[in-house]
């Protein structure tokens, strides 16, 4: 395609009515200027995308909008100062963790860093856990290719890493019988992408699979390869297996700058000291463009596309068995996901997500309008679902580029930089395949500078924390006999024992936050949302780690659960109050 900066400038001016300056840099297009709202930034970026340039670097500002600084870890130390590693992976989401695991089969030193207190703190714990069949992305795009391959690989990798995975299938329901006419189109698309197991079902056939769904549809398309898993358990499993095979994980570690010599990264400065890597892998999710920029290789822009997700009570889980959606007819076009109803691997039902552009990469707030809209749209698919079944909701941001495709490549300009960026949906489904590809690229890069050999005793297998609630009674009793703490139930809604929480605290990547425990063993994930078990979980954390209760956080940084000892406050208040006493049922503060 011919590159035409003036033409793009003209298009943007015509549609947005604003003067945007377009220039070329490293065969990418740079957009600069000022507009009135975020939607105009997005529109300009889209107008410039896929017009013959490698990527869009969108530097357009919104008048009056100051974007918040990236959140830094609370720690500042020199723990990593002078550290020399073969590979530095930036980002501990599903992509960084899976790459660490695949690379750990080589006899090289690997360090994975993440700025948060745990792995999977951003998009990897804020998605629907669906392993897509690979039909939605355009055939030939990286999103299609890696999705189909990733989907295949999940059978093996979930078995090796002991992560529950189920090919539950997904179903699209349609009102119009004429959708059947689109069958040749869909089948040819499936063939191009290599998606197997697609069938067209009439209403009766569909209702046999899902007896509790609405009656109000005419036709369904069934995808049998669709799977479901817990995205954060998967990420943690990958990370743990990498650690068991010698990789290092450093949490609370943020990249502050990079130092280069002759287009090669020499060192990476973090809040915990300077690291000297031979290769750097950018798997920084929504921040991947900022990491690329630090390395002087930003040829893309991440625009966080937010989605909100609702979870409903397990007790309604038995009403469905798979993933169900009633997509708009034109779903095969466009990038906006419609969302649907997903039976999770843990038995809950997840509804959503929606999708909308907004500028804040770390804003995970939910809003009433979105939650109401998701419920209105999807809840009626199963008439027995009710808003009273909702137990919680959350939000996540998809790391989308303007090209709307994955970036999985070695940098063209920085010798030792590899990008695994722009990993939006179906990123979870594609992760094993992306890791496989990045492993190959990294091997080639490292082989140029060092001898890279297979590790002699690489162990592809990892054991997860036993889930006693799902065990046969005899096996469960046997474990309780070995460790009586497995018989002490801490979380009553999810039937999680003290022993399982202790296991999480002793795991290869131990995380002593309340949310970290929740993601590993599900304590606090049930219908009371930790109302009963949160203090008990904190007590187990305190006893196991020796931490003071007051220093235990929900999710790291300054998210402490407790404020102070009652006694301290009592004393302070008593000292500052020189008149009547405070405390006691009858001696309270009276005027």
């Amino acid at each position: 395609m011919n590159r035409n900066l003036k033409g793009i400038e003209r298009d943007i001016r015509k549609i947005i009515g604003k003067e945007i300056c377009c220039s070329e840099w490293h065969s990418s297009i740079v957009l600069e200027g000022e507009v009135n709202q975020w939607s105009e930034v997005i529109l300009a970026g889209k107008l410039a995308a896929n017009k013959g340039y490698k990527g869009v670097i969108n530097k357009i500002k919104v008048k009056g909008l100051v974007l918040p600084q990236i959140k830094r870890p609370a720690i500042e130390d020199k723990a990593l100062e002078g550290k020399i590693v073969d590979v530095l992976i930036i980002g501990g989401g599903i992509i960084g963790s899976s790459i660490a695991r695949e690379l750990s089969k080589w006899d090289i030193s690997i360090m994975l860093i993440d700025k948060e207190e745990d792995l999977a703190m951003h998009t990897s714990s804020r998605n629907d856990g669906m392993v897509h069949p690979g039909i939605e992305a355009k055939p030939g795009s990286k999103r299609a290719v890696f999705n189909v391959r990733g989907n295949e690989l999940y059978s093996k990798v979930t078995e090796e890493l002991d992560v529950p995975f189920e090919r539950c299938g997904s179903n699209w329901l349609f009102d119009k019988r004429w959708v059947k006419l689109a069958k040749p189109f869909i089948m040819s698309r499936a063939k191009k992408s290599g998606v197997k197991g697609i069938s067209f079902l009439n209403k009766d056939e569909m209702r046999r699979l899902e007896p509790n769904i609405i009656d109000d549809f005419q036709l369904a398309i069934h995808f049998e390869t669709t799977g479901i898993l817990s995205p954060y358990k998967m990420t943690i499993a990958y990370g743990e297996n990498a650690v068991e095979n010698g990789a290092e994980v450093s949490l609370n570690t943020i990249v502050l700058s990079m130092e280069k010599e002759e287009e090669k990264i020499i060192s990476v400065t973090t809040n915990r000291g300077k690291i000297y890597p031979k290769a750097v892998i950018n798997a920084a999710g929504v921040f991947a463009d900022e990491i690329a920029n630090m390395a002087g290789d930003q040829f893309f822009t991440i625009h966080p596309r937010k989605g909100q997700i609702i979870f409903i009570d397990k007790k309604k889980g038995q009403l469905i068995n798979s993933v169900i959606a009633k997509p708009p007819i034109n779903l095969v076009k466009g990038n906006t996901k419609g969302g649907g109803i997903v039976k999770t691997i843990d038995g809950n039902v997840l509804i959503g997500p929606d999708a909308y552009e907004q500028p804040f990469k770390e804003d995970y707030s939910t809003s009433r309008d979105n939650i109401d809209a998701i419920l209105r749209r999807h809840l009626p698919l199963v008439p027995k679902f009710s808003p009273a079944d909702v137990i919680t909701y959350c939000a996540g941001n998809r790391a989308a580029t303007y090209e709307e495709d994955f970036i999985i490549e070695r940098s063209e300009y920085v010798y030792n930089l590899i990008h695994a960026a722009g990993i939006q949906s179906p990123g979870l489904a594609s992760a094993p395949a992306i890791a496989e590809e990045i492993e190959k690229i990294t091997y080639k890069l490292l082989s140029e500078v060092i001898q890279v050999n297979r590790k002699e005793h690489w162990n592809p297998r990892r054991k997860s924390i036993p889930d006693l609630s799902k065990m046969a009674f005899e096996e469960r009793s046997k474990l309780i006999k070995q460790n009586p703490d497995y018989g002490v139930i801490i979380c009553r809604c999810e039937e999680v024992s003290k022993g399982e929480i202790e296991d999480a605290l002793r795991s290869p990547i131990p995380v002593s936050t309340v949310d970290g425990i929740k993601r590993r063993v599900r304590a606090g994930m049930g219908r009371c949302q930790g109302g009963f078990c949160m203090p008990l979980v904190m007590d187990v954390i305190a006893k196991e780690t020796g931490k003071n209760m007051k220093t235990i956080t929900k999710k790291g940084r300054f998210s402490n659960i407790l404020n102070s000892d009652v006694q301290e406050e009592y004393k302070k208040a008593a000292n500052s109050c020189d008149c009547q006493g405070i405390g006691g049922e009858d001696g309270g503060i009276h005027e």
């Binding site: 309780i480 009371c528 009963f532 300054f558 406050e569 009276h590």
Partner: protein, 422 residues
């Protein structure tokens, strides 16, 4: 297999303890199963007074009240398994198979001829009342905050707002104030408080804590700890009114937005649940739709006084013991309370064949009513009539009817109708 118990009671809170005594005193072979490490239920953390005014004519603290029952259970050597969790319950040919887990026995099973569900209730969460915004630390249900302060001795926050005017929220407003925290205000979406009048007076007014009716939290602000909340006025349908939003700085949000009976075990047995009470549908003996399963206390419906919880537990225990000795035929007639005036009535059925003809009805009204007459009739015959000066939704009412003189033999079908005139 070991012998079957006559009565197995799930829960050693005030309902379960009273049920155990009720069953034991009627000669039943009884056992209590408790998931926590000690008996007493939620009373363990309720260190304020006011418990037992009806039963003991004394103002006791929660632990003191519980202790009276625990002592009696111990004196009578009624067996109790603590730190024991129910994994599964099934009923086969009139016998209940209860699968339990604890640290000393692993997974094991006991059998019983009857079952009493005294599981209590849980608190509704922020998301269940559709609060949005961020998900920081510093959002607690009132019961969790109470556990932190009264059991563990920690103060969860220094400056908080309380959403909902349920009793635990009011109690916690006072408790946190006494411990040196600042309670900015109690916000209630309804037009009237949900808690008891005495708690409004003793916990808020006495401490000058403002109560804002028709207000709710629309948004929580702060990524790590709560930094502020957005408060808005609500209309009569409890929807926020645009333009009334106001940001209130605080480091904690305490929720007291309602209690839900814990009935997952009842549901697993396919016991029908009342949409009003969210507890099982029962007859005057507190027997549910499944023969041999009884429900009492806050698992049956949320009570405001522990005395009624214990009363229902005792009834359930006695009736379970009677059921084991001699099974009565069931001829059930509906107790129907007018939807427009009553939130619910318990029991929802009367067994006309039961020897128990003195029936206690518990009910709540939908709205505040003054000078209203409540009547219970059966086929036109007035069984109960009383004029009330005031009726309020937060205050559960208890009435008694006697059906001894009803000529039931000739009755084909009839309904116990509960109505109100004002």
């Amino acid at each position: 297999m070991s012998k079957a118990y006559d009565v197995v009671i799930l829960g050693a809170g005030p309902a379960g303890l009273a049920a155990a005594l009720g069953a034991f005193d009627k000669g039943a072979d009884t056992i209590i199963i408790e998931r926590e490490g000690s008996p007493g239920g939620i009373l363990k953390q309720c260190i304020h007074d006011g418990f037992g005014l009806i039963t003991f004519k004394e103002k006791l603290s929660g632990p003191e009240y519980a202790e009276r029952y625990i002592k009696e259970v111990k004196e009578k050597n009624i067996p109790m398994l603590i730190s024991t969790y129910v994994v599964k319950v099934k009923k086969i040919e009139g016998l209940f198979y209860i699968t339990l887990v604890n640290s000393s026995n692993g997974v094991f099973e006991i059998t019983s001829k009857s079952l009493i569900l005294a599981n209590g209730c849980r608190e509704r969460t922020s998301k269940q009342v559709f609060i949005n915004g961020t998900r920081p630390a510093g959002v607690y249900s009132a019961g969790t905050a109470q556990y932190f302060v009264n059991i563990l001795g920690y103060l969860p926050c220094k400056k908080c707002v309380i959403l909902g005017s349920g009793d635990i929220g009011l109690i916690m407003a006072r408790r946190l104030t006494l411990e040196g925290a600042k309670v900015v205000g109690v916000y209630e979406a309804k037009v009237a408080p949900s808690g008891l009048s005495r708690n409004i007076a003793q916990c808020l007014e006495d401490y000058s804590i403002p109560l804002y009716l028709s207000h709710t939290i629309t948004r929580i602000i702060g990524d790590e700890r709560v930094e502020a909340v957005e408060i808005a006025q609500v209309d009569e349908n409890m929807n926020p009114i645009k333009g009334t939003e106001e940001v209130v700085e605080c480091d904690g949000v305490i929720l007291s937005v309602g209690l839900i009976p814990e009935n997952e075990i009842a549901e697993s047995l396919n016991i029908s649940i009342d949409r009003g009470t969210k507890g099982p549908i029962v007859d005057q003996n507190f027997m549910t739709g499944i023969e041999g399963v009884f429900s009492c206390g806050n698992a049956l419906h949320v009570n405001d006084l522990v005395d009624y919880v214990s009363e229902s537990g005792k009834f359930a225990g006695e009736n379970a013991a009677a059921y084991v000795k001699e099974k009565e035929k069931r001829l059930l007639r509906v107790v129907k309370a007018e939807d427009s005036n009553f939130l619910y009535v318990v029991p929802q059925y009367v067994n006309l064949q039961s020897a128990n003809t003195k029936i206690v009805l518990y009910f709540r009204v939908r709205d505040i009513k003054s000078k209203a007459t409540v009547q219970v009739t059966y086929k036109g015959k007035v069984l109960f009539s009383k004029k009330y000066a005031h009726l309020k939704p937060p205050e559960m009412e208890r009435i008694e009817i006697d059906i001894k003189d009803l000529d039931i033999d000739s009755e084909a079908a009839g309904v116990f109708e509960m109505s109100m005139s004002y």
